[in-house]
Amino acid sequence: MRMVLPGGLDRSKLVLPILLLAAAVYVPVAVLLIPEGSPFALSVHSAGLFGKYLCYALLALALDLVWGYCGILSLGHGAFFALGGYAMGMYLMRQIGPRGVYGHPVLPDFMVFLNWQELPWYWYGFNHFPFAALMVLLVPGLLAFAFGWFAFRSRVTGVYLSIITQALTFALLLAFFRNDMGFGGNNGLTDFKEILGFELQAPGTRAALFAATALALALCYLLAAWVVSSKAGKVMTALRDAESRVRFLGYDVERYKLFAWTLSAMMAGLAGALYVPQVGIINPGEFAPAASIEAVIWVAVGGRGTLTGAVIGAVMVNFGKSWFTSAMPEFWLFALGGLFVLVTLYLPRGVLGLVSDLWSRAESHRRRRPDDVPQASP
């Protein structure tokens, strides 16, 4: 019998969070305490890189919740990621205070440069961390809710829905490029100094940011795993496969989609917010349609509809990207495209599917236990 945790969570769902927890402890220790020459030591740079991968993993997890379970292929999830990132970026900008190049007590440098006289109203409150943190979730959440409300109610599905998600992120890309939007135009927000009063470049801060990202990913993973293992998660799986049948059972399909979609957007926003202080910049490039499509590839590579696969895929592909872009940058896009084609043709269930196939093949070589009662219900 498999062990089942309260709330129907399978014990195997604890593996990844435990690994992340271990990383959240190990990386800060390796960065701060282990002397540099030791093979167990880690540079601040690597910690930042890993932190970035985990942010991507969180975005992939969010995407898998809607794509893998509800069948909504979003080609615009980067928009929610970027909005969360901008909310965090606005906080970091306000933290600079009078230390900007122009030394203005309130206005960020780019506003002074554009001859703005006062802070636009939508920048109010972002000097307070709790407010900014709330906006990190609320802005992507509300946008997703409004978008989903109209799209799902009008029963836009499949390719059409994917296209309008792409249009959404493209529209935001164009908007955020504009200087008069008040988000720094194509330079975006950068030159951050501090977060919560800690110097952003300090190794301790970087290590803490990594730990925070690992923890956030672990918690979001558990939340997502709990959702998909609940009866609501089964409704989602069911509507992915046979939407109208779910309606005739009496479920309001739109409400389920809206729930998953909004939750997913908030997770993506959180991922973006954790990303920005670690990379030190947020600009409209994050809204680029290509960025959202890349996230889809991570999930496909790892294995859609498994949650774990999304995390593995994001880390693997980005690891490969870091290697490629330093070794032979001009080939990265070809490699990515080739990978996607390969996975779609030969690994429809992704890397995780391949591993579990190999595993069950090895398992069937062993003798099956006669008392191997499958479980689904007590």
Partner: protein
């Protein structure tokens, strides 16, 4: 007695083609009705109208005395107590047999209720009971996608039972079944009909005879004949358009 389902003058046209043409049909509470008719007669379209999938251009569709079904969405109609089995068996292939039944089980349908839902002893007992009726007890943990065609048909009937609907619409339940399975299905539907109203669409005349209920024959979107199977099958028009072919 007040009728459970009341259709009057229902017309549905697809680009000018009338799939239903002034269809009228009245079903009493607890009644079982067999609907026959040639391909394209409008049988499935009639079910689409009752369940809210298709909106009629004109006509009245009332449930349980006064509820106007043409104004409601599919899921609201389902929660009123109208269950439907499709012509092609549609079960949730990536969920286990047990989960399929659990989703169908009569219980609150909102996302937050299902998020917090835990199967109580009575729910499990009910699912086990249904598993016994549809003879899928030993398959309960299998993915529904791995079932045979006949087993899927039965699972879908089981899901309808779990829904505890007041009105059951069953579209060609024995298509693709063996003779033995057909007999069992007829017996099962007769059992079901003791506590609720059922509309069965079927081409299989042996099956319809085994049901032994009032028959409605549709043709080109309206009722051609209605009555006992013997009187309907003796009707010359029915013989011409349907039985005689």
């Amino acid at each position: 007695m007040e009728s459970l389902l009341y259709l009057d003058g229902v017309t549905v046209s697809f680009d000018g083609f009338k799939a239903l043409n002034g269809l009228s049909l009245v079903l009493q509470p607890g009644e079982m009705r067999a609907v026959i008719g040639p391909n394209g007669a409008g049988k499935t379209t009639m079910m689409d109208v009752i369940t809210g999938k298709t909106r009629p251009q004109s006509g009245t569709v009332l449930f349980d005395g006064g509820t106007d079904l043409t104004k409601l969405r599919e899921n609201d109609i389902a929660t009123l107590g109208i269950g439907r089995k499709f012509q092609r068996p549609t079960v949730f292939e990536h969920l286990s047999v047990w989960d399929n039944l659990e989703l169908a089980l009569k219980a609150p349908r909102g996302p937050f209720s299902t998020l917090m839902w835990k199967a109580a002893a009575e729910h499990r007992a009910r699912i086990n009971e249904i598993l016994a009726v549809i003879r899928l007890g030993d398959r309960r943990d299998r993915l529904a996608g791995g079932l045979s065609h006949g087993e899927k048909q039965w699972l879908e009937i089981g899901m309808l039972l779990a829904q505890e609907p007041r009105l059951l619409l069953v579209d060609e339940p024995v298509a693709g079944m063996t003779d033995a399975e057909t007999e069992q299905t007829a017996a099962l539907l007769r059992d079901v009909a003791e506590t609720r109203s059922v509309v069965v669409v079927e081409h299989d005349m042996h099956f319809v005879r085994a049901l032994g209920v009032k028959v409605t024959c549709l043709h080109e979107g309206s009722v051609l004949a209605e009555g006992s199977l013997d009187s309907v099958s003796a009707n010359q028009q029915v013989i011409d358009v349907y039985l005689g072919r």
